[in-house]
Amino acid sequence: MLILACYAKRLWPALLLLLAACATTPSLTAPEGKDVSLVFGHIDMSEAPSDLHWVTMQRLRPVTDTPYYSFWVVDGTFFRINVPAGTYKFTKFGGHSGWKNTSYTYGFPSQGQSKLDRRIDRPGLYYAGSWKYRKVKTGFFQTGKFDVEASGTPSELELLQKMLPYADHPHWKQMIEQRIRELKK
């Protein structure tokens, strides 16, 4: 046991390095094209059985071969760049519960416009809102259900400030800073 503990102590820094390498740090890099946007929002998962690890959005119009867009997620805040003009629908989000060792996927209805869905007409910043996960009561043998309610917190301004350190390219940095100035007026 003692030998194992010694090995574990020696391996600990290496394990940390490995974990750090696996994690991806968001980076708002150079825009791919002129007419692309930044989409962002927040989901408070404090009432959910898991945290928020990923969010997926689908481009409905124009129809494309590669319709799915994934987001960076930092503490419930999701954001991504290089979103071209079109009609978009948030399809799924998910996360992991460490103590249950279970991954969860939460699906939005595939038909109709949900509260988060946006139409992107011009390049810019698109705020999908700040939402709170709410569990909907169902029967014992029924599939679990959820809803998202507008929470208003964190505000759009707070989310922009949170994203700003990741804006490595001046295109996005200027865009975020300009919007921050507008919101502070």
């Binding site: 699906g107 416009q113 909907v136 679990g144 259900k145």
Partner: protein, 207 residues
């Protein structure tokens, strides 16, 4: 909003609930008709029509649902949001935008509870040795709640064209009933001969 967990059993049930089960196939010949059977003729259209790229059908046999719909036509009424697993045996498996010819036991009245179009069916694997399989599905629901009174003695009945208009989010914004009996009758005679006459039923009513 649905909260889907990666449990295969639940998702298989979900697939069944989505109508992704076998439906009654097309009639190829009137010889298939048994005494007590009738032929249902009609059409379901989606406007704008479904682009093949809109259907992400990646699981084993889901490719056969491309451009197809399950229409629930039966002597029973169903709630599209709460379908029993047995609903599949009441479904007609039809191609969107084309006439259907389906054999059905004679029942009157017949209820059209709506249709389901499979939009997405994909599988993802996780866990040790990929033991956990998650099947994700999504569908467009076409509302129904219509009642057809079948004339006594009829062998083939025309149910009309149901044209569903949708928006970019696949929400149904308008439904039209179109009487295209003259064309459908000509096509029926060309396909099956004049042995059985296609009869027009009254326009559908709400049950």
């Amino acid at each position: 909003m649905k909260h889907v967990r990666g449990v295969l059993l639940c998702l298989l049930m979900g697939l069944a609930a989505a109508g992704c089960v076998s439906g009654k196939p097309h009639l190829e010949s009137l010889n298939e008709l048994q005494s007590g059977d009738i032929v249902l003729v009609g059409r379901i259209e989606l406007v704008p029509p479904l682009n093949p790229k809109e259907q992400q059908l990646d699981t084993a046999t889901s490719g056969r649902f491309r451009g197809m719909a399950h229409a629930l036509v039966s002597d029973r009424r169903f709630d599209l949001d709460d379908l029993p697993i047995s609903a599949g045996s009441h479904a007609l498996f039809i191609e969107l935008g084309k006439d259907y010819y389906i054999r059905q036991p004679r029942q009157s009245p017949l209820y059209y509870s709506g249709s389901l179009i499979l939009l997405r069916s994909s599988a993802s694997y996780s866990g040790y040795m990929n033991r956990n399989v998650t099947i994700d599905h999504g569908q467009i629901k076409l509302p129904g709640k219509l009642k057809y009174v079948i004339p006594p003695g009829a062998r083939a009945v025309y149910l009309g064209t149901l044209r569903y208009h949708r928006n970019d989010y696949n929400a149904i914004t308008r439904t039209e009933y179109i009487d295209d009996y003259a064309r459908a009758s000509r096509e029926f005679a060309r396909r099956f001969g004049g042995r059985v006459v296609l009869q027009k039923v009254s326009p559908p009513r709400a049950p």
